[in-house]
């Protein structure tokens, strides 16, 4: 139990009167790489937002490192070591690239500062070239790098990436996947949400598939790769 980083149990989340999550349980261990899959509107983002304190689940519990965080404010969950790269990126266009990164900098939960400004610059040399540009002047791919770099500046134990490659040019997509792989290899646990199932299953150890707000599969990514029927049934268009 102690090594369980983030654990959600029996989450029921509503938007107004529409019931989005129907008792979802979800957990991720330290250093684990997990793919979260499902068609559009199946509750992936709602699940993430419920775990981050951005949406209040009506039932269920959320624990981070074993501490109950179900009613915690979002910043407390972030301070417990969870970083979030939201769908649509969420950069601050009114801040420069440098400011976007610097404002987020802090030591991790255990005090370590592996990810510094310099290291983010090494990981994303393109950001270095545009360091004094406004965040809004960057291309989509650069914005995505900035959001990932900014999340790393918080030295998280868990990085949640929601549709990190959406709408990017193929070359950029390749680069983002490379970066995510590098991050995974440093031991930061990752939750990856992406439409590219083969990329997700190649990157992760475990996969969770959501259908209509319920978990229909939770098992090795290897199994998803080898059972095309699973993908066809739950993820195909």
């Amino acid at each position: 139990m102690a090594e369980m980083l983030l654990e959600a149990r029996d989450l029921h989340t509503y938007y107004g009167s529409s019931h989005i999550l129907h008792g979802v349980s979800f957990s991720i261990r330290k250093g684990e790489a997990l793919g979260l899959m499902g068609r559009n509107g199946m509750g992936k983002t709602t699940l993430i937002r419920s775990m981050l304190g951005l949406v209040r689940p009506r039932h269920g519990t959320v624990r981070v490192n074993g501490d109950d965080m179900t009613r915690a404010k979002p910043h407390r969950i972030a301070l417990a070591g969870v970083a979030y790269v939201p769908e649509g990126r969420g950069i601050f266009p009114n801040l420069s690239v440098r400011e976007n990164l610097v404002m987020a900098a802090r030591a991790g939960v255990d005090g370590r500062r592996e990810w510094t400004f310099e290291r983010v610059m090494e990981t994303f040399p393109r950001l270095g070239e545009r360091i004094d540009n406004g965040g809004g002047q960057l291309s989509g791919g650069e914005q995505q790098m900035l959001t990932i770099g900014r999340a790393l500046m918080t030295n998280p134990d868990l990085l949640i990436l929601d549709e990190a490659t959406e709408g990017l040019a193929p070359l950029m997509v390749k680069e983002i996947w490379k970066v995510i792989r590098t991050i995974r290899d440093t031991g930061i646990a990752t939750v990856v949400v992406d439409k590219n199932h083969s990329a997700v299953t190649a990157l992760t150890n475990r996969s969770v598939i959501l259908v209509k707000g319920e978990v229909v599969f939770d098992g090795p990514s290897e199994q998803v790769r080898q059972e095309p029927a699973l993908i066809r049934k739950h993820l195909g268009v």
Partner: protein
């Protein structure tokens, strides 16, 4: 008008504009970052002036009164935010206007009950009570220069806070995407409370500084509120830098408008606003 009186008018315009900036900066921050129209902001100016009057009577020295008054005003602002304004963030402007207008009435009534409706004077501290002779019969009071210098220092400090510190970056980021700032581990409730309290403290400080030259009188918050909104609109909502430029413009328009067009005194400021809005409907500086 000879050069010396022209110089005096310039100094007056600067001093008035800079003082206005102190009030307007808080108004523009709270409006631009938290999205709250605070009609009670002028009341904080009035409360500052009365605080200066009360504390100066108590301690015998305006400077001591200001040193005591700033933390009092900051604490008062933080308390108000925690009790009342925190409920306004997700509500529409009508409800904000209703609550903050109600606060004006409450503050005025409380002032009337506790201090009364008389006009009061506050003595200039001995240290700054001198005047600098500019010609045989014209001189300029040192205290007014002190006000300008203090305001310039605060403007620089505020610019530094907003542009050069992580706190300022978080505040600016929060004005764009509150959720994202939270998800990066920033306690945005505390951040907003601090910004609000800072705005209250700045307005109160302006009132305290102005107390000796304008005296302390009922309704003094109302005039300042209106003119501060003019400054915020001209400068561009949310821009501290814009508030500074606009406050100086208003200071000059008001001072020289009164001299050049005495029969239309008071109109110059609104003419200025009309011209700026025709030229740039979003204000001189956009939010940033």
């Amino acid at each position: 008008m000879d050069f010396t009186s022209f110089l005096i008018q310039i100094l007056n315009a600067l001093q008035y504009g800079l003082l206005l900036f102190l009030v307007a900066s808080g108004l523009t921050l709270v409006f631009g970052i938290m999205g709250i129209i605070n009609l009670a902001h002028g009341s904080f100016y009035m409360i500052g002036a009365y605080l200066a009057f009360a504390l100066t009577s108590l301690t015998g020295n305006l400077m001591l009164a200001i040193v005591l008054g700033i933390p009092l005003a900051f604490g008062f602002g933080a308390l108000l935010e925690k009790l009342l304004f925190v409920h306004l963030y997700k509500r529409d402007h009508l409800q904000q206007v209703l609550l903050t207008y109600g606060l004006i009435l409450i503050f005025e009534e409380l002032r009337s009950l506790t201090v009364g409706d008389d006009v009061h004077g506050v003595a200039i501290p001995d240290l700054f009570s001198a005047s600098i002779a500019l010609s045989d019969n014209l001189s300029y009071p040192v205290y007014r220069l002190v006000i300008s210098v203090v305001c310039i220092a605060l403007a620089v400090g505020l610019w530094w806070l907003m542009q050069r510190t992580r706190l300022g970056m978080m505040i600016r980021a929060g004005s764009f995407n509150r959720e994202m700032v939270q998800s990066l581990g920033v306690n945005i409730d505390l951040l907003y409370r601090t910004v609000f309290a800072l705005g209250v403290a700045l307005a109160a400080l302006a009132g305290m500084l102005a107390a000796p030259i304008s005296s302390v009188y009922p309704g003094m918050g109302g005039n300042v509120l209106i003119i501060s909104f003019v400054v915020v609109v001209i400068g561009g909502i949310g821009s501290v830098w814009g508030a500074l430029v606009a406050a100086l413009l208003v200071g000059f328009a008001d001072t020289f408008g009164t001299i050049l067009l005495p029969e239309l005194a008071g109109l110059a400021v609104y003419l200025l606003m009309a011209v700026v809005l025709l030229w740039r409907p979003e204000g001189i500086f956009r939010k940033g």
